[in-house]
Subunit: 524 residues, 2 copies
């Protein structure tokens, strides 16, 4: 499949010659073909106009038909075959097994949402039947269902070129909700994006849906994204990326004549708390496992463990020894883009330059585009004194904060901003200490885990990949798992409508056979 | 019960002498006692500090205990007895039967949320059990529940001194969620607010909850509200009022170092669409019923029908004749405040001054604080040409837009901003026309109703009192009905936690006996 380098609008390569840019091979920093073209302002407008035009038709499709469409998208991605993996390896520097796994995750997400559509609870269908004889006033017949919010702008992320990109979780959940998607490809993997974008557009056509259901826009600058978020036809935004990028989109969306929600997943250092008995029992083993999580994918995960908290003592020493030993054996890995590699280098240099911080251990060195893993340490007092130490260094760097007691652990956690995850390592004897920390963790993070690390985000019904600001822009939501669909829905109430005018979800006979709540109770 | 004129913080009248102001009798415009004192900055800070301090204790109460607390608040409001109604009549100018009804609604809301707590679905408890043998990777045990967001600032509304005020829907849903509330009393009814505030504070004490669970702050300016919304301990805001006020709070909340959600219900003109067969069959009767809805409470409802759309012809003439005749018999009614009365007069004068608008009919004149109902008419072309005609005139004024055909009805609706409600009047022969309008209405409003008017918002499980911006700041939510609790909750995921560390909602034995979803399916 030859790449065209053009945005996809109306199911076809977009006409119009915008600013050109090249894809870059992550490993070499070299430009590679073809020449890509940033979408012109007219192309952005046309994508939004087609999305708006497609919306009423698309949202009126019954959930089973949208489920079949999502399954078709999944199959179309698989049908690209190995060229997708090869191009993605080239652009992202990520190894084959990781990308094959990520493709499986992407396809799995789409299929999970197909299941969500077939099951039907996402509609939150509710019926409060009329009570004509109620005193002092009769009660009308009230019925509620969720409807999609409108066309959604999705920004692909650099660090998951498949699972958080063109057909990633944001796109899958928006399409499942019934929202057309205008995706902005991340310039770190434009070829991968075009391949996936064509697969999605192909599935749109094969399923007989209006072509405006999906468009893909290229740009290696910010003009296209700004125009997209400001377009009055866009009703919501999904984004995974930097805090700077996310907060800029939030400001843009809030300043519109009609403000819209931005679901931005931005930054997190994911504290790991090592409790005393766990450290005493298996400090060295935890250290080794920690290095595995820290260096996975060169540390380029939103859930990468960037902060470790523990009380000083022999257990922590064992952890650090285990971690140092494991780290020594870790090869440097190609980072996603030269820019990310530079930023990582700057972050590591700033920690090295900080007098309160010690470099404890490091992985193997590597080439000009490769990230070397590093483990730093500081004291709780120093951490509390210097807010820069709580900033994310995107990559395989982590900071161990040595605490004098559990009070200091608590104090450090209390000072943190919102996070995606917190991990507790504990044994039975640590339960009391853990119990004292849980209320604080529940306020700071979206997911609390025990004896593991936040990397490896399961796609399921009980997952929360979200968290209080600035981990995300809206801590009431998740961008992974079936609950992600709720971001793109809003409730509408129908009062005293004749059955013939009600949507099928709410008709008396329940033709879609979906779960509905009657008078607030499930099971009718 | 003698009024003190002081804010309530920590369960008692707040010390400190802020700017004084008086309550005003709505009917006479005269000041009445006692002297109220705006909360000082220190008082605002203390209310927020106590709310934050109370949060962890309050949210850890099990739902049944919070339900008992809400029931106690309801009873405490009833126990104030007639002095509450008398004071409220004086301050609001609203008649006794309306306020007795509104008290019933307020108490009913609190009890409904008690029921929501006992039922348990609001927690959205989900369990994806571990799959240790899954290939290629085992699945961890994942459990999700909703937790409250934190202390909530609630702004009382002028037009529902009980049901949307100190212990109204925002307060009831926030307390149900487990969020302490810092309420800002509306200066239009400070005495009513103090009476209700003391009832709530009394219930807090009687139920053995920390006093910081509820505070009440006075101010007849904007300083206290601004300080409150900017306080870092406040996690969300509930507001019902003007568009100016709501958008100012949104801007303030978005500009915080940690932005927070504002749930503002702001303005709506609630289009009424009269379809041809309904008009032909019973135009006059609809006109009469319309005047009942228009003039209820002097038109001071968020859901007041401020816009009527119909195709010209004998049916519309019958409607207008019926409406005009009914309107003649409607007495002028005291408006909520002299300021609201002045604004109503200005809105009516602007319509009178508009050359494209005709005054069709009016109610009886009245005293200096009373609103006279007025019915205006214009053409669809004029309406589409002048955006000022779509602005809300708060009070009993409505504008009939004469359309040449259903296409013009559609064009006018397409031009409208987001609304709380739209009402369709129809007969069986109108179904096709209605079906063509429904997709548009679903995008514009939160509630669609047939053969009725939006006034009279049922408090239930299927109610949506919300709608796209600027009807509300967040069209994904409702401020009335059981779904209102969702505004103050966020999900947290627990991965691989030992049962002993899980909250009761998620423990394997399900000690609270709440509904839970297992692997995405209800009924476990």
């Amino acid at each position: 499949m030859e790449l065209t380098g053009h945005s996809i609008v109306g199911g076809r390569p977009a006409e119009g010659e915008g600013t050109p840019f090249h894809a870059v091979e992550a490993a070499t920093g070299r430009e590679t073909g073809p020449l890509f073209r940033a979408a012109t302002p007219e192309t952005v407008d046309r994508a939004c106009a087609l999305a708006e035009e497609a919306f009423d038709t698309f949202r009126a499709t019954d959930p089973a038909r949208r489920a079949a469409f999502l399954d078709a998208v999944a199959q179309a991605i698989l049908d690209i075959g190995d060229p997708l993996i090869v191009r993605c390896m080239e652009e992202s520097g990520l190894p084959r097994p990781r990308l094959e796994g990520e493709r499986g995750r992407t396809v799995g997400q789409l299929r999970m949402f197909a299941g969500v559509l077939r099951e039907g609870s996402f509609l939150d269908a509710r019926i409060d039947p009329a009570l004509p004889d109620r005193q002092p006033l009769p009660r009308p017949d009230l019925r509620l269902r969720n409807v999609p919010v409108g066309p959604v702008a999705v920004f692909g992320a650099s660090n998951f070129p498949l699972a958080f990109s063109v057909a990633g979780g944001d796109t899958a959940s928006a399409l499942a909700a019934g929202c057309p998607v205008v995706a902005k490809a991340h310039p770190a993997h434009p070829g991968t994006s075009e391949l996936v974008g064509r697969a999605v557009a192909g599935a749109v056509a094969a399923c007989g849906l209006p072509a405006g259901v999906f468009s893909l826009l290229f740009d290696d600058g910010i003009a296209v994204g700004k125009r997209l978020v400001s377009d009055p036809r866009i009703a919501a935004v999904g984004f995974t990326g930097s805090r700077t990028g996310g907060t800029a989109l939030m400001a843009l969306a809030a300043a519109r004549p009609v403000p819209i929600p931005v679901y931005a997943e931005m930054s997190s250092i994911n504290p790991v708390i090592l409790l005393p008995e766990a450290l005493a029992t298996r400090g060295g083993a935890i250290g080794k496992a920690f290095v595995g999580a820290l260096t996975l994918g060169s540390g380029q995960f939103c859930t990468n463990p960037g902060l470790v908290l523990a009380v000083e003592g022999p257990g922590l020493d064992a952890f650090l020894a285990g971690a140092a030993q494991a780290l020594e054996g870790v090869a440097a890995q190609t980072m996603l883009t030269p820019g990310i590699h530079r930023a990582y280098g700057a972050g590591v240099a700033a920690l090295d330059a900080n007098e309160a911080v010690t470099r404890l251990a490091e992985g193997q060195g590597g080439g000009a585009t490769q990230g070397r893993a590093v483990l730093f340490a500081t004291s709780a007092a120093a951490f509390l004194d210097d807010h820069r130490l709580a900033e994310e260094v995107f990559g395989a760097a982590s900071l161990v904060v040595r605490c004098r007691d559990l009070g200091e652990v608590h104090a450090v956690l209390a000072r943190l901003e919102g996070q995606l995850t917190a991990a507790l390592h504990l044994e039975a004897g640590d339960h009391e200490a853990a119990r004292a920390l849980l209320p604080l963790l529940e306020r700071r993070v979206g997911r609390i885990l025990v004896n593991g690390f936040g990397t490896g985000v399961e796609v399921g019904h009980a997952m929360v990949h979200g968290g209080p600001y600035p981990a995300t822009s809206d801590g009431r939501t998740t961008s992974v798992g079936s609950l992600a669909i709720a971001r793109f829905l809003r409730p509408v109430c129908y009062q005293d409508l004749p059955d013939a005018l009600l949507p099928p979800e709410l008709q008396q006979a329940n033709p879609l056979e979906i779960p509905r709540r009657v008078d607030g109770r499930a099971g009718a």
